[in-house]
């Protein structure tokens, strides 16, 4: 994936979006937590994530400038669903211990992935330097989430981490299920489009040709207009 220029740029831009969304989620946690120390740490964490988003975005932009490419095709490709910030994490109403466990697991997984990416972008020192910098931050993120979890949940903090891992697996399964369901429904609807809609399309096009351009009078509201969906 990293050897392909377009996919590398797309990946960097996608990372930028995920880090940015994640940063905003953690910022939200900082605004909601009643714990002053956690507020400070979440804020640091959020600032890091937002900075990572900038690093990725600037690197993606720099690569694009370095080699002119068909940017329209590049950015019109919709990414797979899911992955808004931290796995569609709900911050409001979530207790700090659960959030910390989740963040710890997510940061650990991200650090693992970034370490691999750092190795495979050997040919691109600037991108490698970004991964280096981010990995240094990830150490802080992993450590503080774990130590703070142990502080606020001295009993059962390990169980929380296991639960967070299970929850991530479940969310991954749900995301996959959505992708599969979406693909199936997309195929069925495409089939319907060509099979069922074709004759109606002829009628609709004929009606459209008869429609005058310009102003169309608006009919006065009928007696049931307040409850009508149409």
């Amino acid at each position: 994936m990293w050897s392909d220029f377009d996919r590398r740029v797309r990946k960097l831009i996608a990372f930028s979006k995920v880090e940015g969304d994640g940063g905003r989620d953690i910022l939200r946690a900082a605004e909601l937590t009643p714990d002053p120390l956690l507020r400070r740490l979440y804020l640091e964490h959020a600032i890091d994530e937002l900075r990572h988003a900038d690093l990725f975005r600037h690197r993606g932009a720099a690569l694009l400038q370095f080699r002119a490419t068909n940017t329209t095709a590049l950015f019109n490709t919709n990414p797979l669903p899911g992955g808004h910030g931290l796995d569609d994490l709900t911050i409001k109403g979530e207790p700090d211990y659960r959030l910390l466990a989740f963040l710890h697991v997510a940061e650990k997984a991200a650090a693992g992935r970034f370490e691999i990416y750092r190795e495979v972008v050997d040919d691109d020192p600037a991108t490698r330097a970004i991964f280096d910098e981010i990995l240094r931050d990830e150490v802080f993120h992993m450590n503080y989430t774990y130590t703070q979890l142990a502080r606020i949940r001295p009993q059962g903090y390990r169980r929380q981490v296991w639960q967070a891992r299970a929850s991530r697996l479940w969310k991954r399964y749900l995301r996959l299920a959505i992708v599969v369901a979406s693909a199936i429904s997309g195929m069925v609807l495409t089939l319907m489009y060509f099979v069922v809609l074709a004759p109606f399309a002829v009628l609709a096009k004929r009606a459209a040709r008869r429609e005058p351009g310009g102003w169309t009078p608006i009919a006065p509201p009928g007696s049931n207009s307040s409850t009508s969906l149409y």
Binding site: I13, G20, R24, L27, A30, E31, L32, P36, L37, R39, R40, L41, L43, E44, A46, I47, L50, R57, G60, A61, L64, Q65, T71, T72, N76, K92, V139, F140, N143, Y144, T147, Q148, S182, S185, G186, L189, T190, Y193, F194, L197, A198, F200, A201, L203, A204, K205, A208, G213, G214, W215, T216, P217, I218, P220, S225, S226, T227, S228, L229, Y230
Partner: protein
């Protein structure tokens, strides 16, 4: 009578609450969820509205949704049929989107608001809600109405009129419409996408960029939009793809006509030929939009003979066009609500149901934008003290003088006061304030606070009494400036002393402030005027790029902590940032 208005599912979902004909609260879901342009069902906003009014779901007499979802579905389906077979890519997604949730509006509202009988759930047309948001909140007895946006159900632009009758009732009639796919809003959005900005969000960047260009491509833009003999317009759909795909709004022919689109991740270099071409594109579409709107408004003025115009819809956020409508259409006053976009439809739908469906007597709606949650100064003081910040709680007069001193010293102030604004503009309750004199302040704000493009201007706020001294306001200009809805020239003699708020073309999107609307800010402007000789401040929304405007004190505080703001104020609480007192010691200790 308790009426809840809701807008949702496209962008900017919101809820508004009307009790006995008067709005008591309105808030966009994004402000509560902290997710910009959130389009989900506004449960948080509804919950806040009810709590604010001290009511339960069972107390609701009606819940009004801002559009007719089946009519919208009819447009989506018909559009797919008319563009068959080119719409095959967008069809599955459009159907899934619609059938997955949006068409079942009544059932969804009913299930979310358990306990509200389905008979109490009402619907208005999308543009009727826009029209009501403009007319029923405006201090006028009779007015022509013009609504312009991307698209509602079928309408993209409507004209009509509204009247407050002697018997105390109000009437609102929309006479005719321009129908999808012919849309001024979508024309502008297509250029927004072409220029590498986000559609439904960054249209104001096109307006800002336009001032740097010359309208040299108007003939090309006019190939896209043709006027019809009855005074309306049609778009040549060969240049657009928004009907057939969600991925791109402009076609290959469009690109052949205007050249390569901008890469969204490359900065616009206005010194380069490419950058100037983009600026010229922006200037050209802006001018064509203005010309078209002025023509339609002028014809409406001649037809109705009315002196007031109520303007709404997303396009009404275009302050340059609004100012030209005021100057050239013949209307003496133009009223644009504080939330002319889809969020405002929540309030419009509730008011429309109250006055038109239920026939309740007209009541005057307070003429201010502050319908949102109130800031809690104690919350700020507590959090700031816990973080060892410098916190002072001061008497009103002392506080105002202190902040004026700081502003005169070149500090940037985060200002939170009372209830939040409803709508996209910061109008003095959730603002970042700064001295407006030097262009370096604009650059500093763009670089250290707002993290945004250097070509974007900042807006000024000044007391209504002195506005005319610094700005070249036409008759009716002060009214248009009430909610920052018009762009007007800065008087040439003051431009060098108002460098941070004077755009490259010598204009500014002015807010004219009446004392009664935001007394504390008015007092601050006067205090600042005593120091600088000019009661004018730079006023920009209290947020950073990509985030909604702050709502609670803690959101203001977290924004304050991570950007280059110097002072934060909420109520009587003043927090001053110490030099480089970031939380890094905590980071080092843990790491």
């Amino acid at each position: 009578m308790n009426i809840l208005g809701i807008s949702a599912y496209y962008h900017d979902s919101a809820a508004a609450f009307v009790i006995d004909g008067v709005s008591v609260g309105a808030v966009q879901e994004e402000r509560l969820l902290r997710h910009k342009n959130d389009a989900t069902f506004p449960l948080g906003a509804i919950e806040w509205c009810l709590e604010h009014a001290g009511l339960e779901l069972a107390d609701l007499d009606a819940v009004v949704f801002y559009e007719r979802s089946m009519r919208k579905f009819d447009r989506i389906l018909t559009s797919a049929l008319r563009t068959f077979p080119h719409s095959w890519r967008s069809f599955p997604e459009a159907i899934k989107n619609s059938l997955g949730e949006k068409v079942w509006a009544r059932g969804i509202i009913s299930s979310h608001l358990g306990g509200v009988p389905r008979s109490k759930i009402l619907f208005t047309g999308h543009h009727h809600a826009h029209a009501a948001a403009a007319f029923l909140t405006a201090p006028t007895g009779r007015a022509a109405i013009l609504t312009v946006d991307g698209v509602g159900e079928w309408s993209t632009l409507t004209v009509g009129h509204g009247e407050r009758r002697p018997g105390g009732t109000a009437g609102l009639t929309l006479l005719r419409e321009i129908r999808y796919p012919h849309s001024l809003g979508l024309l502008y959005s297509t250029f927004t996408a072409y220029l590498g900005f986000d559609v439904n969000e960054d249209e104001y960047k096109v307006m800002g960029l336009a001032a740097y260009g010359r309208p040299t491509l108007m003939d090309e833009v006019r190939k896209l939009i043709r006027r019809t003999t009855d005074g309306a317009f049609t778009l040549d759909m060969d240049y657009f793809e928004y009907q057939t795909t969600a991925a791109r709004s402009y076609s290959r022919r469009f690109v052949e006509l205007f050249g390569r689109p901008r890469n969204p991740y490359e900065p616009i270099d206005l010194e380069s030929a490419e950058g100037r071409r983009f600026a010229d594109c922006a200037a050209s579409v802006q001018r064509v939009l203005e010309d078209t709107l002025v023509d339609i408004a002028r014809a409406l003025h001649q037809e109705t003979g009315l002196s007031d115009l109520c303007l709404a819809g997303g396009v009404a956020l275009n302050g340059v066009a609004n100012a030209r409508i005021l100057a050239e259409s013949g209307f003496e006053r133009v009223f644009v609500p504080s939330a002319p976009g889809d969020a405002g439809c929540a309030l419009g739908a509730a008011l429309y149901a109250d006055r038109v469906y239920l026939g309740n007597p007209d009541r005057e709606v307070p003429d201010h934008p502050f319908w949102g949650p109130t800031v809690d100064a104690k919350e700020l003081a507590r959090a700031a003290r816990e973080d060892d910040q410098t916190v002072e709680e001061l008497d009103e007069a002392v506080l105002i003088e202190r902040i004026a001193d700081r502003l005169a010293d070149g500090c940037i102030v985060g200002w939170m006061d009372g209830a939040a604004e409803f709508g996209p503009r910061a109008l003095g309750h959730r603002s970042i304030l700064a001295a407006p004199h030097a262009a370096e302040m604009r650059d500093r704000l763009n670089r250290d606070i707002k993290y945004r493009e250097p070509f974007r201007p900042f807006a000024p706020v000044t007391p209504i009494e002195t506005a005319d001294r610094y700005f070249d306001l036409p008759p009716g200009g002060a009214r248009l400036g009430r909610f920052m809805s018009g762009v007007f020239p800065v008087r040439p003699e003051w431009r060098s002393r108002l460098g941070a708020i004077t755009h490259v073309d010598g204009s500014a999107r002015l807010q004219t402030l009446e004392r009664g609307m935001a007394p504390r800010l008015h007092a601050l402007l006067e205090a600042y005027g005593r120091r600088s000789g000019m009661p004018v401040l730079l006023n920009t929304s209290f947020n950073v790029a990509g985030e909604p405007i702050v709502n609670r004190a803690l959101e203001g505080y977290s924004t304050f902590r991570r950007c280059g703001m110097d002072v934060l104020v909420a109520g009587p609480t003043l927090v001053t940032k110490r030099a480089r007192q970031q939380a890094s010691p905590a980071k080092e200790a843990v790491a």
